[in-house]
């Protein structure tokens, strides 16, 4: 019923849409495009949520991301192509309609809206009709009418959910993103994360350069100068030279201390020596609040992932420890298949600040990792770091093997396929055509005359199917395997 009603609403929308399209193109009223497309998107959005609610089929949104807002140029104007504007309204509007116009999803939406009233009508009315007929039939007073009518009505009731499924499939056909859109989305994501990774890398390098320049380098220079002075003094005033030498030694210790701090910021030694688990344990020991660490990792992740995870945990822990009222933090490092998961549960009041969260997300983004923050104000906050492919290198080594039933089919096809194809099929056909009296062990020639040809054809088909199956199953399997292997799981390492 609801489907029919929805179809009616869509019909109205389609008519309105078609009218406005005529206005847009026929009369050049471009300003109508954006509201119409917006309305379409609302309607198709409803259809998507209906497909999920009624049939459990998820239909993701296929739209391109909206354009960024216009940027104010240094000269105080907003530029849209070759025209300058005083206010951002017109360039924003221009960008918006171009965005909608260029997106193929806009046109797929329109096509769906135009066709859906018919599809929904047929699919929605069919069970209603069946039930209606079923209820009406007994009134024909025919002996078979009552059971037949009941059967038809039952069929109508039973068919309803299937038809809803069918409708959801139809929705997927036009409203789900196409492979191209998905690829474009992946490309955008990769480009963004790559840019962020490069940016943060270079920022890191700059920070390290500055720390070395202002710290250890400067101290070594001072040390050299002190040693030079001591050299000059050593004969005339050994006591003063001794004081200077002691000072130089102190300076070298300080320089070492600073270098140690820089090294810790680049790649903490414990992380290199012991891996993520113990590095986080060491971090916990140095933390001013009480931190409990639980680790369940069978293998060490790749060094870059390990480092990203460590610094993410380090930043979040520092943040959690600094919050008022924070006394205890529980860190749990575990794995689920190839995914590395770290949860940080603290009893502090506040969630991490936007800045911290963004920094952590940027660290994780190059590895497709995400940070999830859960918890309501006033209760413990749980931060979850999820790195989905962190341990892939240990798991993909087991190439997907062919399941047992497929192996059986292949062996069965190759070993017995010839039997129906050649002797029972082709040879009996030759015997049959040449009219030989000899029947030997050919099944087809022993059955009654009218069944002989069907049996021959059946045997040939059976043999062909068996051998064909045996040949294609391994091919298909190795293709799937090849595709799985060719898809880089560790995009960030195997470039």
């Amino acid at each position: 019923m609801a489907l029919v009603l929805a179809a009616l609403a869509e019909a109205v929308a389609t008519v309105a849409g078609a009218m406005s399209l005529i206005l847009v193109y026929g009369l050049g009223m471009v300003f109508l495009l954006t509201p119409v497309v917006r309305m379409h998107r609302v309607l198709t959005g409803l259809a998507r949520s209906r497909a999920w609610a009624w049939s459990g089929i998820r239909v993701p949104e296929p739209y391109d991301p909206p354009p960024p807002p216009p940027v104010l140029q240094p000269d105080g104007w907003y530029r849209s192509e070759r025209t300058l504007y005083k206010t951002p309204t017109v360039p924003a509007w221009n960008m918006r309609w171009k965005w909608m116009f260029a997106d193929p999803a806009t046109w797929r939406d329109m096509l769906w809206l135009a066709l859906d009233p018919f599809v929904s009508g047929v699919l929605g009315l069919l069970p209603l009709l069946l039930i209606g007929c079923g209820v009406a039939t007994p009134f024909l007073w025919h002996p078979f009418a009552a059971p037949l009518g009941l059967a038809v009505a039952a069929a109508g009731v039973l068919a309803a959910p299937r038809l809803l499924q069918a409708h959801a499939r139809w929705t997927v056909l036009l409203l789900a993103p196409t492979a191209r859109t998905l690829l474009a989305g992946t490309m955008r994501h990769l480009a963004r994360t790559r840019t962020e990774a490069i940016d943060s890398q270079s920022a890191e390098l700059q920070r390290i350069e500055r720390e070395l320049h202002d710290g250890a380098q400067a101290r070594l220079i001072a040390m050299g100068m002190t040693l030079g002075a001591a050299e000059g003094l050593v004969r005339d005033d050994p006591a003063a030279a001794k004081v200077l030498l002691a000072r130089a030694r102190e300076a070298s210790a300080t320089a070492l201390g600073e270098l140690r701090r820089v090294v810790r910021g680049i790649h903490p030694p414990v992380l290199a020596e012991r891996g993520l688990g113990d590095a986080v344990r060491a971090l916990a020991l140095d933390s001013p609040i009480q931190v409990t660490v639980e680790v369940d990792l069978p293998v060490r992740p790749e060094p870059p992932v390990e480092s990203a995870a460590f610094f993410a945990v380090s930043e979040l822990l520092t943040d959690a420890a600094g919050q008022p009222g924070a006394e205890r933090v529980l860190i749990d490092i575990s794995h689920q298949g190839a995914a590395l998961r770290v949860t940080i549960t603290g009893d502090g009041d506040a969630e991490p600040s936007e800045e911290v969260r963004h920094g952590v997300e940027r660290r994780l983004a190059s590895f497709d990792g995400v940070l999830a923050v859960s918890g309501v104000p006033g209760s413990p906050t749980t931060l979850t770091l999820d790195l989905p492919y962190a341990l892939t290198h240990t798991i993909t080594d087991k190439a997907p093997k062919m399941p047992g039933w497929k192996v059986f089919l292949v062996v069965f096809g190759w070993s017995l396929g010839w039997l129906p194809l050649f002797p029972q099929g082709l040879v009996s056909m030759v015997f049959k055509l040449s009219g030989t009296e000899e029947r030997a062990w050919f099944l087809a020639l022993h059955v009654p005359e009218p069944f002989q040809w069907p049996v021959i054809v059946f045997m040939i088909c059976l043999g062909a199917v068996m051998i064909g199956m045996a040949a294609t199953i391994p091919l298909r399997h190795s293709r799937e395997r090849w595709l799985a292997e060719a898809t880089p799981h560790r995009l960030w390492l195997e470039r």
Binding site: R249, A253, R274, A282, L285, D286, P288
Partner: protein, 218 residues
């Protein structure tokens, strides 16, 4: 006194050998990798071993693992671990068996030859030598702990030096106090931390370290 040295950097290894020979030690083996170290420790049975944490072939904590393994096979084998960085985690692992005769120092401490040799001797005699930085970290993470908070600044200084592994005599020298004053301070510290007092310097240090460690773990 017979010493085994494990250090992968040639320059530093030679430096250590010279330094120790100049102070009357007998260097029986100077090795550069984990497996060699373990072999030297179990075969030579030195009176003290000086071990770098990071050694070939893995360049992880090979040296520490070899030292711990050797101490499992030869209980109480004196080991002084040197590293470019100090971690409470490693200090706890070294102290875990509670038998003493361990040291854990930053490589920087080698610069002060006198103090370094002093630490080597202390470890060889079954004492401990903990880097001030480790002690500072242990104390810092215990700063919110009640009994520690009740110590006077002077008592805290004494506690730090004691945890590094120094005897009352050494502490009194460092802080320019009389030995009896240090004795009073240590008694007061032990009272506040509810530790059993002991006259034996080494047992006393181990008690303090165990206290600092245990509370952190709990």
């Amino acid at each position: 006194m017979r010493v085994v040295i494990a250090e992968d950097l040639h320059l530093l290894r030679e430096g250590l050998v010279h330094l120790l020979r100049a102070h009357g030690f007998e260097v029986v083996a100077a090795v550069e990798s984990g497996p060699e170290l373990l072999k030297a420790l179990t075969e030579e049975r030195p009176e003290v071993a000086i071990v770098d944490v990071r050694l070939p072939p893995t360049f992880t904590d090979e040296g520490l693992q070899a030292a711990l393994e050797a101490r499992r096979r030869v209980p109480g084998l004196p080991v002084l671990v040197l590293s470019q960085h100090v971690e409470q985690l490693y200090a706890r692992e070294l102290l875990a068996d509670g038998s003493g005769a361990v040291g854990y120092l930053l490589k920087d401490r080698v610069l002060n030859a006198h103090q370094f040799v002093d630490a080597v001797r202390r470890v060889a005699d079954g004492g401990t030598a903990m880097d001030p930085e480790v002690i500072a970290k242990l104390l810092a993470s215990k700063a919110r702990n009640e009994p520690l908070g009740s110590l006077t600044p002077r008592e805290r200084e004494v506690l730090e030096l004691m945890a590094e592994g120094r005897s009352n005599a050494a502490i009194s020298q460092r802080l320019f106090l009389s030995e009896s004053a240090v004795g009073k301070h240590t008694a007061s510290i032990f009272g506040k931390l509810a530790l059993a007092p002991s006259d034996d310097d080494n047992r006393r240090v181990l008690a303090v370290l165990a206290y600092l460690n245990a509370a952190q773990a709990g």
